[in-house]
């Protein structure tokens, strides 16, 4: 018995070491790194210091996507969309602290924050979806959803670090709902409704490298310095009136988070206070896929293990004299 235990433990330890080695120390060549920004990636830049909380973008988003507004149109800014939902792809939330007197200040201040799909460079939802119902466009990087493929497993909901995909729990024929960057408007020559309608230029649309350059320009300004800022889109030439630059926290949210996102954000209040998660630079999708690929690429590892198992089971089935009763007898 001691012998059997020793043998077994040795086997278990060996198996365990192999599994651990396979998982912990994949050859660098096999590790899947973060995905790269697609060549024609487009996205949004949201600058919390310019947002006045008018919620015009919330209404515009609903209109553009044919979503119901729960209160009469003239009072639409009171839409009780407290949170993203199957009928709200975009919301403006408020941060308040203490007396909430000064805008864009952490203490005794307040700020607004836009929440909608971040169009991650290396999205968890796309990696997780078992049936390619969530896809990332190879050129523009827009992450969109195809209900016809979806099996409703909600792994995308679980995998998104930002809590974006929303599911119809009370429908017999449910779907996932989320912002698809208004790519259905492109054929009419239009772009993201939320950016199009934003009166202050707090949300703008454009190619991601241009948005990033604009974000960096704003961060480099001295607070109070007057300048004009793009409005609606970096491509339309619309500008705001001259206004003073704000005091930003030294961080462009989305530049690196979780492998980067195509929606970038600037703010005067630290982003974790605004409800945005702290994420490492390495995308979780790349971690998950590294494990999967290390274990399953080309089915090499399973084939090797199966070979060993077959040898063992064959041997033990012969041991009893090869009668047909050998196996489960």
């Amino acid at each position: 018995m001691t012998v059997s235990r020793r043998n077994f433990l040795r086997g278990a330890a060996a198996g365990c070491t192999a599994a651990t080695a396979a998982v912990v120390a994949p050859a660098p060549a096999e590790a899947r790194g973060n995905k790269e920004l697609p060549p024609e990636a487009v996205g949004l830049l949201f600058d919390a210091t310019m947002c006045v909380g008018c919620k015009a973008c919330v209404v515009a988003c609903k209109e553009a996507n044919g979503l119901p507004i729960q209160v009469p149109m003239e009072r639409a800014y009171e839409d009780p969309s407290q949170a993203l939902s199957p009928t709200s792809f975009n919301i403006i939330k408020m941060y308040k602290e203490g007396e909430a007197k000064t805008k864009d200040v952490e203490q005794d201040g307040f700020s607004f924050i836009k929440r909608s799909c971040m169009h991650c460079v290396d999205p968890g939802c796309v990696s997780a979806c078992p049936v390619q119902a969530m896809t990332k466009d190879a050129k523009t990087g827009v992450v969109s959803y195809n209900a016809d493929a979806c099996i409703g497993c909600r792994y995308c909901v679980m995998a998104c670090p930002f809590g974006i995909p929303k599911f119809d729990y009370d429908k017999a024929v449910p779907e996932i709902h989320k912002c698809q960057l208004c790519n259905h408007l492109w054929k009419e020559g239009r772009f993201s409704a939320c950016a199009d309608v934003c009166p202050t230029g707090a949300t703008i649309f454009g190619p991601v490298p241009k948005l990033l350059a604009e974000a960096k320009r704003r961060q480099a300004m001295t607070p109070g310095e007057v300048a004009k800022f793009p409005r609606r889109s970096t491509e339309t030439g619309d500008q705001t009136k001259e206004k003073p630059a704000a005091k930003y926290v030294d961080h462009i949210y989305g530049e690196k988070e979780g492998g980067g996102t195509q929606m970038l954000m600037l703010s005067g209040v630290p982003f974790d206070k605004l409800g945005l998660p702290k994420l490492p630079e390495r995308s979780y999708a790349s971690m998950s896929e590294t494990v999967q690929h290390t274990l399953y690429d080309g089915l090499v590892a399973p084939a090797v293990v199966l070979g060993g198992l077959l040898a063992a089971t064959y041997r033990s089935s012969r041991k009893k004299g090869g009668s047909e009763e050998d196996s489960h007898e």
Binding site: M1, S4, R5, F8, L9, G11, A13, C16, A19, T20, V23, L84, R115, G124, S127, A128, P130, V131, Q132, A149, C150, I151, G152, C153, R154, V157, M158, P161, F162, G163, P165, F167, D168, Y169, D170, K171, A172, V173, P174, G275, L279, Y284, A285, S288, E289, V291, Q292, Y296, L306, L309, L310, A312, T313, S316, S317, K320, E324, E325, H328, E329
Partner: protein, 398 residues
């Protein structure tokens, strides 16, 4: 002829009727779910309390993630008997296999109940739709294949009952291939069930989120397999009034302790490596859950540490229960308790209908196990203790 026999006894008893009633209640709520959606209101509360923060509830975490772990008895024993060549455990194989067939098949059924767009299920197995980067793809394909392997492994038992000895012989000829596949597939998907959490990243507390999740899930699944064999062997010895398999279970207890020691060693080494040890002493709720888990994992090692203790059926039973609770809690913690969704304040606790569906699934499993063990030759042939004829055997639960 085989040296297995059925347990015998009456099929309709108060116990089986009660189980049948639970199954019927679950059936009603499953019907509501298909008619109105997985979160629809019923007169008894919402079908489930799932929300976009906790989009996977007990139907996934218990019915699939824990349920298939509990169904690892067949796998764990096959490893021991056929791979590590310990033929003496053979008498435990068939009952364990029966439980595995049911556990996995019902896990598959539970998935269909949980899937929002279940009619598209075949997409996951179809090239063009399937996404091999997805952990869930691996889990689904592997479990689907394994369910087939399990039924084939179990089929000679049914063929014997129906007198199809040719068919039984033919399957037994290739049994060694089936057994090898039956060892491979659980290795793959039981580890992947842990990998499902990797992409969820920061939402899972770092005390649970690690790249070693697949190894930890696999080890704990194997120990669940052994524990469930001990648990069932003790229960069915009492329930069906059959002799206990204590000497064998005693040895199994030693094997189980060994695996648990490896599991605990790996888990603490990983926590140390990632600098999470101080977080274990933070005294927060999650830290307490962590230590509860560890205590439950360690208790069987302690209980089985002395030969005299291991000889007692009560100790074996207690140790196996502790182990099953440990691994179940590990899974519940990873998927639900240690999970903090981003965004709005989400809460999840299963609704009454949701619980009733899961309870109904368990009831169905137990019911089917009782019925099949009474009619199919799954029990190892001993001289029955309480008289030789089936008629004299007393049904369980009377």
């Amino acid at each position: 002829m085989s040296n297995y026999e059925s347990a015998g006894g009456r099929l309709v008893t108060p116990v089986t009727l009660f189980l049948g009633a639970l199954v019927a209640i679950a059936g009603y709520f499953v019907l509501m779910r298909f008619l109105f959606g997985i979160g629809a209101e019923t007169p008894f509360g919402a079908v489930t309390n799932l929300n976009d923060g906790y989009s996977w509830g007990i139907w996934v975490v218990y019915d699939v993630v824990i349920g298939t772990g509990l169904a690892c008895g067949g796998y764990a024993l096959a490893l021991l008997v056929y791979v590590f060549n310990k033929g003496e455990y053979h008498p435990l194989v068939r009952p364990a296999l029966l439980a595995s067939v049911f556990g996995y098949t019902l896990g598959g059924v539970a998935v269909m109940v949980d899937l929002g767009r279940w009619w598209n299920f075949w997409h996951i197995l179809t090239p063009g739709y399937a996404n091999p980067n997805s952990v869930m793809f691996e889990v689904a394909v592997c479990i689907a294949l394994y369910i087939h392997v399990l039924w084939l492994e179990f089929s000679p038992t049914m063929f014997e009952r129906w007198g199809w000895s040719n068919a039984a012989r033919r399957v037994n000829k290739v049994m060694w291939v089936l057994v090898a596949l039956g060892c491979l597939f659980p290795m793959m998907h039981q580890s992947s069930l842990g990998s499902l959490l990797i992409v969820m990243g920061a939402k899972v507390d770092p005390r649970w989120h690690t790249m070693l999740l697949p190894a930890l899930f696999l080890l704990s699944a194997i120990s669940m397999g052994f524990a469930v064999v001990m648990f069932e062997a003790t229960l069915s010895a009492d329930g069906f009034r059959r002799p206990r398999e204590t000497p064998m279970l005693k040895k199994l207890a030693v094997v189980l302790s060994g695996i648990l020691a490896v599991y605990l060693g790996l888990r603490f080494a990983d926590l140390g490596w990632r600098g999470q040890i101080p977080a274990l002493f933070q005294g927060d709720f999650l830290a307490r859950m962590f230590w509860l888990e560890i205590a439950l994992f360690a208790l069987p090692i302690l209980l089985f540490s002395r030969a005299a203790w291991r000889g007692s059926p009560q100790v074996l039973f207690a140790g196996s229960v502790s182990m099953l609770l440990a691994a179940s809690l590990y899974r519940v913690d990873g998927f639900l308790v240690a999970m903090t969704p981003n965004g709005d304040a989400f809460h999840y606790f299963p609704s009454v209908p949701e619980l009733m569906v899961t309870i109904g699934m368990i009831a169905f499993e137990v019911l089917a196990y009782i019925v099949l063990a009474r009619v199919l030759p799954v029990m190892h042939g001993h001289a029955p203790v309480h008289g030789a004829s089936k008629a004299a055997a007393v049904p369980a639960g009377d």
